[in-house]
C-alpha cells in the first residue's frame, strides 16, 4: 500500500520515525543514569527541609514508588510516557507537564533571541571579517569575538550585573518581570524585554564567536569558488558578489549547525539562568539533577529531544529553502 502524502509530510513522518529510537534511547539512558547517582529525590527533599525522621522518610519513599526495583520504575514510567503523561514532580508538588509548560516560554524566548542575535550578528561580522581576511580589522573582530567566547559565562554575567544594574542602575538584576509591577499590554512587553536584555546579551556574546568563526571560514571558502570568479568576470562589484553570490552559499554550512546548537545553548543557559534568576528550563534541569527529580528531568530531556527534532526539522526546511539543490518535490 502506498500513501500519497504531500512530500513534506512524508519527510516529517520519516524524521519522526527516525527520532523515536533516539528518544527512547535517551529516556532509558537518562533514567538509568540518574538512578546510578547516589541518593534519590527523598534525600534531596529531606536535605532541603533540613531533616526528617526515619518513618517520614520511609513513608515518602513508598509514596513516590522509590522502593520498587529500578526496572519496574522504568517500565511504569515508559508506559505513562507513551500516554503522554510526564508524571508528578515530588519536588514541585505539581505535575511535570504544568511546570514544563510554565518554563518553556521563558526558555524559548531566551534561546530564540540569543541564538538569532548570535547568528545574525555573528554571520554578519564573520562575513565582514572574511572580506578583510588577515587584515587588522579581521584580527580585531576575530580576537574580540574569541575573548567573549573565552570568558566563562558566569564571569561575564556577573560583570554585566555589576556594570548595568549596580553601577549604572539601567537594568534589573534578574527575574523575568518586575514583581508586583502589574504591568499590562505594551508596558509588560517592555518590562520583560528589559529583564531579558542582559541574559540574552550574555548568551549571544558567548555564542556569537562560534558563528563568527564559522561564517568567516565559510565565506573565505566560498569566495574561492569558481562561480564567484564567473560573477566577477560578468562585471559584478564586490558588494553584489557578497550579497548575491557568496552569502547564501556560505550560510548553508552555518545553518546546519544551528539546529545542533539548541541543546548546547540550553546547557549553557544553566549558569546564566541561575545568575539572572530566570525561570527557564536550564536552571530547572540543573535543579532536577541535584534534586534527583527523576520525572522532571526526564520530562525536560524529552521536551528537549522533541525541540531538537523540531528545530532540526526546521533547519532542514530552511536549508532546503536556501539550497536550490535540494528539491522539495
Amino acid at each position: 500500500m502506498t500513501l500519497h502524502l504531500p512530500p513534506i509530510l512524508t519527510y516529517a513522518l520519516r524524521r519522526l520515525v527516525q527520532a523515536v529510537p533516539v528518544i527512547v534511547l535517551i529516556m532509558i539512558g537518562t533514567f538509568l543514569l540518574l538512578k546510578l547517582a547516589p541518593g534519590d529525590t527523598v534525600d534531596a527533599l529531606v536535605g532541603d527541609m533540613g531533616g526528617a525522621d526515619a518513618a517520614y522518610i520511609a513513608r515518602l519513599r513508598t509514596e513516590y514508588g522509590l522502593d520498587q526495583p529500578v526496572w519496574v520504575q522504568l517500565w511504569l514510567y515508559m508506559v505513562k510516557l507513551v500516554q503522554f503523561d510526564f508524571g508528578w514532580s515530588f519536588v514541585y508538588e505539581e505535575s511535570v507537564a504544568t511546570i514544563l509548560l510554565e518554563r518553556l516560554g521563558t526558555t524559548l524566548m531566551l534561546m530564540a533571541t540569543s541564538l538569532s542575535i548570535a547568528f545574525t550578528v555573528g554571520c554578519f561580522l564573520g562575513a565582514f571579517a572574511a572580506r578583510r581576511a588577515y587584515s587588522l580589522t579581521d584580527n580585531v573582530i576575530s580576537t574580540v569575538g574569541l575573548v567573549f567566547y573565552a570568558t566563562p559565562s558566569f564571569f561575564l554575567s556577573l560583570m554585566m550585573i555589576l556594570l548595568f544594574s549596580v553601577q549604572l542602575g539601567w537594568l534589573p538584576v534578574g527575574g523575568i518581570k518586575t514583581v508586583a509591577g502589574f504591568y499590562t499590554g505594551w508596558d509588560h512587553v517592555v518590562d520583560v524585554a528589559r529583564h531579558l536584555i542582559m541574559p540574552t546579551a550574555a548568551l549571544s556574546l558567548i555564542y556569537l564567536s562560534f558563528y563568527l568563526r564559522l561564517m568567516r571560514a565559510s565565506v573565505l571558502e566560498v569566495a574561492d569558488l569558481d562561480f564567484v570568479r564567473t560573477a566577477r568576470a560578468k562585471g559584478a562589484g564586490e558588494t553584489r558578489l557578497m550579497v548575491h553570490h557568496i552569502m547564501r552559499n556560505a550560510l548553508l554550512p552555518v545553518i546546519t549547525l544551528l539546529g545542533m546548537q539548541f541543546s548546547t545553548v540550553l546547557g549553557g543557559s544553566v549558569v546564566v539562568e541561575t545568575i539572572f534568576s530566570l525561570p527557564g528550563l536550564g536552571q530547572l534541569a540543573y535543579q532536577s539533577v541535584i534534586q534527583r527529580d527523576m520525572n522532571m528531568l526526564m520530562g525536560i530531556i524529552f521536551l528537549c529531544a522533541i525541540i531538537v527534532v523540531v528545530v532540526n526539522f526546521l533547519t532542514d526546511l530552511l536549508y532546503a529553502r536556501l539550497d536550490s539543490r535540494i528539491e522539495l518535490a
Binding site: T30, A37, P38, L146, A150, P152, F155, S263, G267, V271
Partner: protein
C-alpha cells in the same frame, strides 16, 4: 628541452617547516602560542619558585596584591597564596584540558571512524547514539555525571570527555565518509590491507588536521566547563584549579575582586590562546585557505 621528466623536482622543505611558515603568518595565532607557552611554563614551574602546597595558609586572609611580597598577588579568603594557586591551577587546568581532550577525541575518533568507514547499520546505530548524546544538553549531562561520580578531578575530566566526544565523532565521521571514497583508500583495499589498518593507518592520518584543530576547541571548552562546575560548587577542592579560585573568589567579588579576577583573566587568556592556536593550526593545516 626534454619532455621526459625523470629527474625529480627539487625536494620541498620539511612539512613541519612549511606548517610553521603558514602558522606564523597569522599574527593572532602567534600571540596564542606565546600565551600558551607562558601557561605551559607556569604549569611546569609550579612548586619550584612557589611554596609547595597552594592550599596551605600562606598569609593573612584577603591580603591585597602587591602588598606583601611573601604573597605577591595576595591571598584568598583562607589565606592561600594566589600566585601559587595560579601556577598550580595552570597545571590542573592544562591537565584537565589535555586529558579530557585526548579522551574525548579518542572516543570520537573510534566511533566516528567506524561509523564513517563502514556506513550502513553500524553507522545508523552509532549515529543514533551520538544524536542521543547530543540531544541531552551537554552541561546537564555533565552535571548528572558529576552527581553520579562525585567531584574528584579525575572524574570531572572523564565526565567532560563523555560530554565532549560527539562533535569530534561527527567530524571524524564526515572526514571518513569523504576520505573512504578517495582513491588511495581503494588502493589500500586493493592491496588487501585490513579494515583496521585502513582506518587507523591510511585514513586517520589524513583526517587528523581538522581533528587537531578541533582539539583546541575541546581544550578550551574543557577549561570553561570545569570552571562552570566550580562555579556551581561542584569543583574538586583538593586541587587549586582556576575554576575553584573563581568559584570561591566570586563570594568576595565586590570587596576583593582580585580573588576572582586574577584566575578569571588566566582562564580567559588560556582559552583565548587555545582558540587562537586553533585558528593558526587551521590556517597551517588547511592549505586551501591559503594567502
Amino acid at each position: 628541452m626534454t619532455l621526459l621528466t625523470t629527474e625529480l623536482p627539487k625536494p620541498e622543505p620539511h612539512r613541519a617547516v612549511l606548517l610553521w611558515r603558514r602558522f606564523a603568518r597569522n599574527r593572532a595565532a602567534l600571540l596564542g602560542l606565546v600565551i600558551f607557552v607562558v601557561v605551559l611554563i607556569m604549569a611546569a614551574t609550579a612548586g619550584l619558585i612557589e611554596p609547595t602546597d597552594p592550599l596551605r595558609r600562606a598569609g593573612v586572609p584577603l591580603t591585597k596584591p602587591f602588598v606583601d611580597w611573601a604573597t605577591p598577588l595576595g591571598t584568598d579568603q583562607l589565606g592561600r597564596d594566589i600566585l601559587a594557586s595560579l601556577f598550580y591551577g595552570a597545571r590542573i587546568s592544562l591537565l584537565v584540558g589535555v586529558l579530557a581532550t585526548l579522551l574525548s577525541i579518542g572516543i570520537g575518533v573510534v566511533i566516528g571512524a567506524v561509523s564513517g568507514y563502514f556506513g550502513g547499520w553500524i553507522d545508523d546505530v552509532l549515529m543514533r547514539t551520538t544524536e542521543a548524546f547530543q540531544t541531552i544538553p551537554n552541561f546537564v549531562l555533565l552535571l548528572a555525571l558529576v552527581a553520579i561520580l562525585g567531584s574528584s578531578i579525575e572524574y570531572i575530566t572523564v565526565a567532560i570527555a563523555i560530554v565532549s566526544w560527539t562533535a569530534p565523532a561527527r567530524m571524524v565521521r564526515a572526514e571518513f565518509m569523504s576520505l573512504r571514497g578517495r582513491e588511495f583508500v581503494d588502493a589500500a583495499r586493493n592491496l588487501g590491507v585490513s579494515n583496521t589498518a585502513i582506518i587507523f593507518r591510511e585514513i586517520l592520518p589524513n583526517a587528523l588536521p581538522p581533528i587537531v584543530v578541533y582539539a583546541s576547541v575541546i581544550m578550551a571548552l574543557s577549561i570553561l566547563l570545569e570552571s562552570a562546575l566550580a562555579f556551581l560548587g561542584l569543583g574538586d577542592p583538593n586541587h587549586a584549579s582556576w575554576g575553584n579560585m573563581i568559584g570561591q573568589g566570586r563570594a568576595v567579588l565586590r570587596s576583593d575582586w582580585y580573588c576572582a579576577a586574577i584566575p578569571g583573566t588566566a582562564i580567559i587568556l588560556t582559552v583565548l590562546s587555545f582558540s587562537l592556536l586553533g585558528e593558526g593550526l587551521n590556517d597551517a593545516l588547511n592549505p586551501r585557505q591559503k594567502k
